[in-house]
Symmetry: C2
Subunit: 246 residues, 2 copies
């Protein structure tokens, strides 16, 4: 859809909520880089890309323990640390000190943004409230954003909703924290499933293609699965489409 047509057909909305891991930051490249550095420091030779992928693969089942009610709400830093310990065992890496576990867990605080993220957000911020809507916890998101220079107006997500996406309350409670109805909010995500949930709860939706989030052989989320309200190849292109000055 042409930008002008979209602007004319999209009802007014006030806030843009952003998924973070994969949409705003390139978690995999950053994690592999840090894991390789850890390996060098310990004299370990491992497939660190596979390590990163397995660590990330523990993300959904770990959150599902909370979503299902089998476990009380637990922040992502804690889930990440527990998963790390499991993956270290799978890779037969022993003797990692507590301080090293802390440092490795905080890899998720030190993820680099995609090249267009910071500049795109600055442009979008001129017109909209820009907030995270991430399963990351507040401390993780605040440190990651500070390091990366991401200029959020608010740091919201699972911890401020006590619910993990894609559960309804993760979207609805954070809209309510800004005193907004769902239709006044747009979710920006590289994940069709995230957008589908947000749409089902009344949010506007924008798909941003991140074809290398999972590395060079990515097979998921390579195109828009629904007629999202907007689609773009970068935050800069999204800013163009939403008529935010360059």
């Amino acid at each position: 859809m042409a930008a002008d047509a979209m602007q004319n057909t999209l009802p007014h909305f006030e806030a843009l909520f952003f998924d973070v891991f994969g949409t705003t930051v390139d978690w995999r490249t950053s994690a592999v880089r840090e894991l390789k550095a850890f390996g060098r420091s310990k004299g370990l030779r491992k497939d660190w890309a596979a390590f990163a992928d397995k660590w990330r693969a523990r993300y959904e089942p770990a959150m599902e323990e909370v979503r299902s009610g089998r476990r009380p709400f637990t922040i992502l830093d804690v889930l990440h640390r527990e998963s790390l310990i499991q993956i270290l065992a799978e890779f037969s890496i022993a003797g990692v000190r507590e301080s090293e576990l802390d440092h490795l867990t905080a890899i998720w605080h030190r993820l680099d943004p995609w090249p267009d993220s910071v500049r795109g957000l600055h442009r979008l911020k001129h017109r909209y409230i820009v907030s995270t809507l991430s399963n990351g916890n507040i401390g993780l998101l605040a440190r990651l954003s500070k390091r990366a220079g991401l200029p959020w107006d608010a740091i919201l997500g699972a911890e401020t909703a006590h619910a993990y996406k894609p559960q309804a309350q993760a979207y609805l409670r954070n809209a309510a924290h800004l005193a907004l109805k769902p239709e006044a909010c747009m979710l920006v995500s590289a994940h069709n499933s995230d957008l589908a949930a947000a749409r089902s709860f009344g949010f506007r939706t924008a798909f941003v293609l991140r074809p290398t989030e999972h590395g060079p052989d990515q097979t998921s989320d390579l195109s828009a699965a629904q007629d999202w309200d907007a689609t773009a190849g970068s935050f800069e292109e999204l800013a163009d489409k939403l008529h935010c000055p360059g």
Copy 2:
């Protein structure tokens, strides 16, 4: 205390938490300006400075209803609107429409910063996590900060703690949201009572003098009531004392 001496005697801390109303923004000047504009639009002649002071005076008793447990946690926007309706009646102002009540309540979203706040925060942000720690709700703080250009790393306060200052949880839960122990946090406030509470819960403390928060005849908080860890006349001076580059 000389800046170098202070730097040497202050243990390391990671985050600066800021009181907002009075410390970061000049609520009274902004509120009186907006109330005068409302009066002109309605053809009303009232003492709008007295109106603003009475509205603000309802702040503590309204929060006390929540602190005492007589009322479940209720965000400040709601308390502000209820107080507004009471003060309008006291001033014999009738016939105010719902949309006007909304607009007036949101005066607290449109407060101007003190002249040193934005530049001081940018400097302090180079070295520390900078966050609100305000009794304002998230939506209020996000909109106020966006309009004023306040570059917070996180928007925290009563709503993220479900407790109003000076209750312990308002300080401790927000420190925990950043995964910090109290001694890794410094509260910056123009209010000695706020600092006394924060210190009693283990925070570092910085007093910033705001001698006209309550107008030209202010009698409270004109000097430091205790030997706070730092005292300053502005956020810029605080940045100097904490060795944050200009």
